[in-house]
């Protein structure tokens, strides 16, 4: 009975928060007008995309959610606290936590409405396609909003007044916009900035949302990003809830430092985990990964001018039969354990493995053709066909991106040919393997 009554009260609080938000000119400007301005600005800046903004919707939505969560939420909470509204709430027979939760749910609805408006306007103004998988887009939105609302709650708990919200909010907003892959695309950032972005939730927010717009596989493979958002949001949210103050006269004590540190440790943990799993390898321009390679792009790749398998460049042994395979068994085992071939970014791992074949080819290793075949076999063994197709297409279409391994003494490849030649051979070997996977080259 009592719970039902408090539930009714909280439902009214939720509806009242929404109603009052729509009566506030300031809230309308920051919550809806500013996102429209960002949409128009993006439409003006990223004119090369086809359809327009399809590959920028992740960034655009992330900016809106980030702004609404890191400025809108704490500004509202702190201004309510300053005017004593939370002091009045404290007199009610309801917990502060439940009222805070009701506020967060209302803010989530406001963020969702702003995001929907952006998606609809992008469609109307620029013809930007809707998310390929709306349900997964909703899941991505919820993770991103959870993460940023957690940060917003922490800002509200730390800020003594509204100007302090602006200062703290900017400390989150600006680095993510400039270095976090949110405002400036990750792929045009220098390698060091890309690495820093790996420690920020903005990068994972953009990735999760963008997949739903431009990758037919949606959130498949975005598990790390979703977990990163959840971890950062949970740490900040718990810290924010613990430090939340209903009384404007009460200031944060020394405990605040420990809670803020705990929240920041979540960022560090995510960044370290990303680095350890190879997710911080520099990305090339284009704002895409191998996963964003489309079937049309793959279809346009030509296999007509490839050198033959027994010619001077890019020699390739026929598939092993019996003793041939056994003779290369030791090398295959070493290659399977070779660390550069196991880095977290699959495309980079493939590029590294192809570099082995290229090195053997360029340095005229006596087993060059067999080594190339071992590399082919290992790639086929390690990756699913569809993934391998996109990885190889990515390497062919972006020959200058990522890193290459020019020398591998641990595999017996002592000589170090020039890197551009390795890249060139990588591209040729990638085409040879891709042609075979697609059935366009007989094996």
């Amino acid at each position: 009975m009592s719970r039902a009554r408090v539930g009714r009260g909280l439902a009214r609080h939720f509806l009242l928060t929404l109603a009052l938000n729509f009566r506030s000119r300031q809230a309308i400007v920051y919550g809806y007008l500013v996102p429209v301005l960002f949409l128009l600005a993006f439409g003006g800046i990223f004119r090369g995309d086809t359809p327009l903004l399809q590959h920028e919707m992740g960034q655009l939505l992330t900016i809106s959610i980030l702004g609404g969560a890191c400025f809108g939420l704490p500004t509202a909470l702190v201004s309510e606290r300053e005017r004593g509204l939370w002091r009045r709430y404290r007199l009610l027979p309801a917990s502060m936590g439940s009222l805070l939760a009701s506020t967060l749910v209302a803010r989530l609805v406001l963020l969702a409405s702003a995001a929907l408006m952006q998606v609809a306007l992008a469609r109307i103004i620029y013809g930007t396609p809707f998310p390929l998988n709306p349900a997964q887009a909703l899941v991505a939105f919820l993770f991103v909003a959870f993460s940023f609302l957690g940060l917003g709650l922490l800002v509200a708990a730390l800020a003594d007044d509204v100007p302090a919200v602006q200062a703290l909010g900017q400390c989150l907003f600006l680095p993510m916009i400039m270095l976090g892959g949110v405002g400036v695309p990750l792929t045009v950032l220098p390698a060091w900035a890309q690495a820093i972005a790996g420690f920020m939730p903005g990068r994972y927010a953009v990735e999760a949302l963008q997949r739903c717009f431009s990758d037919s596989r949606g959130l498949q493979g975005a598990g790390f990003s979703l977990v990163a958002l959840a971890v950062i949001g949970a740490a900040a949210g718990i810290a924010g809830a613990r430090l939340f103050r209903w009384d404007a006269g009460r200031h944060t004590g020394r405990a605040a430092f420990a809670w803020v540190l705990a929240a920041l440790l979540a960022w560090a943990a995510v960044g370290v985990a990303a680095a350890m799993t190879g997710r911080l390898e520099p990305l090339g321009p284009g704002g895409e990964t191998f996963e964003s390679i489309t079937d049309e792009q793959i279809a346009r790749i030509s296999f007509d001018d490839l050198p033959g398998d027994n010619e001077f460049a890019t020699r390739l042994a026929p598939p092993f039969r019996g003793a041939d395979g056994e003779r290369m068994g030791g090398f295959a085992t070493a290659l399977r354990a070779w660390a550069p071939g196991r880095v977290g970014d699959p495309a980079q791992a493939a590029r590294n493995l192809l570099s082995v074949a290229s090195n053997a080819d360029v340095t005229a290793n006596y087993r060059e053709a067999e080594i190339a075949r071992v590399v082919f076999d290992l790639l086929r063994e390690r990756y699913k066909r569809e993934q391998l197709v996109r990885m190889l297409a990515w390497i062919i279409l972006n020959p200058d991106e990522g890193g290459v391994v020019a020398q591998a003494p641990e595999l017996g490849l002592q000589r170090r040919p020039p890197e551009p030649i390795i890249r060139d051979r990588n591209s040729l070997y990638a085409r040879k393997l891709l042609g075979r996977l697609l059935g366009k080259i007989p094996d």
């Binding site: 009975m1 009260g9 009052l20 506030s24 002091r87 009045r88 007199l91 027979p93 309801a94 917990s95």
Partner: protein, 315 residues
């Protein structure tokens, strides 16, 4: 507390510290239904801290608070069901209307009061659907008071209810608070205004540095104190000390410029003797004032220091 009345609030040994500062030091009092009890004291005396402990805004360091028999420290939410409160520094959203605010806050309680009735009772009909930011100071104060009644409370707690109001709004609020007593409610209010305390409260607890130094009815406190009436007199020619001291009933005398302050045990006898003396001396009377003992005198007597002057501490 009269024995025939039901006890609404019972506070015993209440203590509240803020770091090294002990704001409330072992305060005890009761408030009965149909009674207005005032906590009177200058700023910083501990009034608001006591009320905040009672309302569940602060947790006392020691002592007990019972509201309608419920332990308000152990069961704050249950106790809050029974209390209506108007506290300081607790405003509302600019765009909320009185009707919305009353409906929203009422929705949390078991026995909410009808919103329309509250709007009519507290004179908010003309502004019921106007945004809060358009309300005058008096209208806002009436809305705050109405918010204290959304749960049909038996105890109403008012923290400096008339602070910052103009005289007309103040009189109106006094009328409303007196009406609460007539309705049989227990009212616990804090004030630093001695006149307000004297006019409204059935009983007063005088607070000084976190302690209740005296409690009782306003007239009882004054009569129990050692303060005596004073007659201030100014004549065309100054009287001598011998003349002033010799007047009937006078127990003390002091000169303040041209004016003599005569402490007297019998105001009538002193004035009669004074008039005869001046007539005899053909010394025209220029000014005569009688100062009855007040709560301020009681405070001075109890604390040994004057009631703080200034806008917030003015008696």
């Amino acid at each position: 507390m009269p024995e025939s009345r039901t006890e609404s609030v019972r506070v015993r040994g209440l203590t509240k510290r803020y770091g090294p500062v002990e704001a409330v030091r072992g305060v005890s009092f009761d408030v009965a239904e149909g009674e207005i009890f005032g906590l009177l004291g200058p700023n910083g005396a501990g009034k608001t801290s006591i009320l905040e402990c009672l309302l569940g805004l602060r947790r006392p360091d020691s002592g007990s608070v019972a509201i309608g028999g419920i332990d308000a420290v152990a069961l704050p939410r249950l106790a809050k069901e029974r209390v209506g409160a108007q506290v300081q520094l607790a405003s509302l959203q600019d765009r909320i209307t009185p009707r919305q605010a009353l409906g929203f806050f009422a929705s949390f309680y078991r026995e909410p009061a009808p919103v329309a009735g509250l709007i009519a009772r507290f004179g908010l009909s003309a502004k019921a659907d106007s945004p809060f930011e358009s309300l005058s100071g008096g209208q806002r104060q009436r809305l705050y008071l109405a918010l204290a009644f959304v749960n049909n409370p038996r105890l109403v707690v008012l923290d400096e209810p008339t602070a910052g109001l103009d005289p007309q709004a103040r009189r109106e609020l006094h009328r409303m608070i007196s009406g609460m007593r007539a309705d049989g409610l227990a009212v616990l209010m804090s004030t630093h205004d001695m006149e307000e305390a004297r006019a409204l409260c059935d009983r007063i607890g005088i607070l000084n540095e976190g302690r209740i130094v005296a409690a009782g009815s306003p007239s009882g406190l004054v009569s129990r104190s050692g303060a005596i009436p004073r007659v201030a007199v100014r004549a065309a020619r100054a009287m001598t000390r011998a003349q002033a001291s010799a007047l009937a009933g006078v127990v003390s005398s002091s000169a303040e410029g041209d004016t003599w302050m005569l402490g007297t045990a019998d105001v009538g006898a002193t004035i009669t003797a004074l008039m005869r003396q001046l007539e005899r001396d053909e010394n025209p009377l220029l000014d005569l004032q009688i100062h009855r003992p007040s709560l301020e005198d009681v405070f001075i007597e109890l604390t040994g220091r004057p009631w703080p002057a200034g806008p917030e501490g003015r008696p």
